[in-house]
């Protein structure tokens, strides 16, 4: 049974694709066009009631929120492909810590910058220069802390590559 990943192949869906590749899990993509509002249509909302991207279907099982999807496959296939969760409970704890840092400190300003600089012009919507400036400042401070951390360890959670690093691989190839 092949895992189906719904969404475009950039942004949050991309993290899921990269994770599945690292874990050597077969998948197929089902394109959902965010610009055409396909993620707000009733058929899609049956799978993801918040109208967000991505969602995966694995046989009868449906799962959404990219970070939950990453955790599930990284754990289910722990012994296959790249190990993404560290070797001990304590290493896993640090992976979780930096995953949460990404969710609450890194992603929000990046999301604002992408929406205001890349997406709004494409949709013919106005950008908010105040939001851009505030987001740049916030992101700058976060990246200072990442810089400090990465001067001490090879990767974010330690000297091992993990979900915490994979999660920041998110491009908007629009």
């Amino acid at each position: 049974m092949v895992v189906k990943v719904y969404g475009p192949d950039y942004a949050n869906p991309k993290r899921v694709l990269v994770c599945l590749i690292e874990k050597e899990i077969e998948f197929e993509t089902v394109h959902v066009d965010g610009f055409k509002g396909e993620h707000k249509q009733p058929e899609y909302l049956k799978l993801q009631p918040f109208g967000l991207l991505p969602v995966v279907q694995d046989g009868d099982y449906t799962l959404y929120e990219s970070r939950a999807i990453l955790r599930y496959y990284a754990e289910k296939y722990k012994n296959q492909g790249t190990d993404l969760l560290g070797k001990t409970m304590e290493e896993r704890g640090l992976v979780e810590q930096w995953l949460e840092v990404e969710a609450h400190n890194y992603y929000p300003p990046i999301f604002n910058l992408v929406m205001n600089i890349l997406v709004s012009p494409l949709l013919g919507l106005p950008s908010d220069p105040k939001v851009i400036q505030e987001s740049e400042e916030k992101l700058g401070k976060v990246l200072d802390i990442y810089e400090e951390r990465l001067s001490k360890t090879k990767y974010l959670a330690g000297d091992f590559f993990s979900l915490a690093d994979l999660i920041v691989v998110m491009e908007f190839d629009i």
């Binding site: 009631p49 929120e65 955790r71 599930y72 704890g93 640090l94 979780e96 949460e100 929000p108």
Partner: protein, 219 residues
Amino acid sequence: MATGTVKVYGPPMSTAVSRVLACLHEKDIPFQLIPINMSKGEHKKPDFLKIQPFGQVPAFQDEDISLFESRAICRYVCEKYGEKGNRELYGTNPLAKASIDQWLEAEGQSFNPPSSTLVFQLAFAPRMKIKQDEGAIKQSQEKLAKVLHVYDKRLGESRFLAGDEFSLADLSHLPNTHYLVAATDAAPLFTSSPNVSRWWNEISSRPSWEKVVELQRTA
């Protein structure tokens, strides 16, 4: 493994700190709460920044580890002390755990931003004599109403968010919702929604949460 070594740093009034305390109570883990006076800027001092470089609360220490980010701390506590207290809190099989993670992420990504803004604007800004931002309040109320609409449908089909058992996903909602229902006029967003209201009454009356509320009251 040694217990009695868990330390949590931060004020119990903080929503993120109280999230961790609720989890520790659910797991029956004794802990030491070390207060951090944020109005005196203790969370931005060099000694604290060593254990939490973003200058946020809480920070957590156990015999083998120093951690921050409340939801990461909760997950770690559930993994490390799996056999203690509420064993179902983070699921007992991979699919249950994935469902809990899904709703924990929904909380963190969709529920937390607008509810945190409302907690600050409606419960804390007046106390701190900070001018309220009416635009932010309106926008957050609209966003939160949409999220709670999805929750109400879900909670009409399922007793708790991730399934039939109380989990970390429900627990994670306790801190913000408590303030909004107990101390602000955003309460009707929750109380007028039949399934959300039923769920809130059930999760907020758990002894673990009542202990946290009592600590907040007496701190």
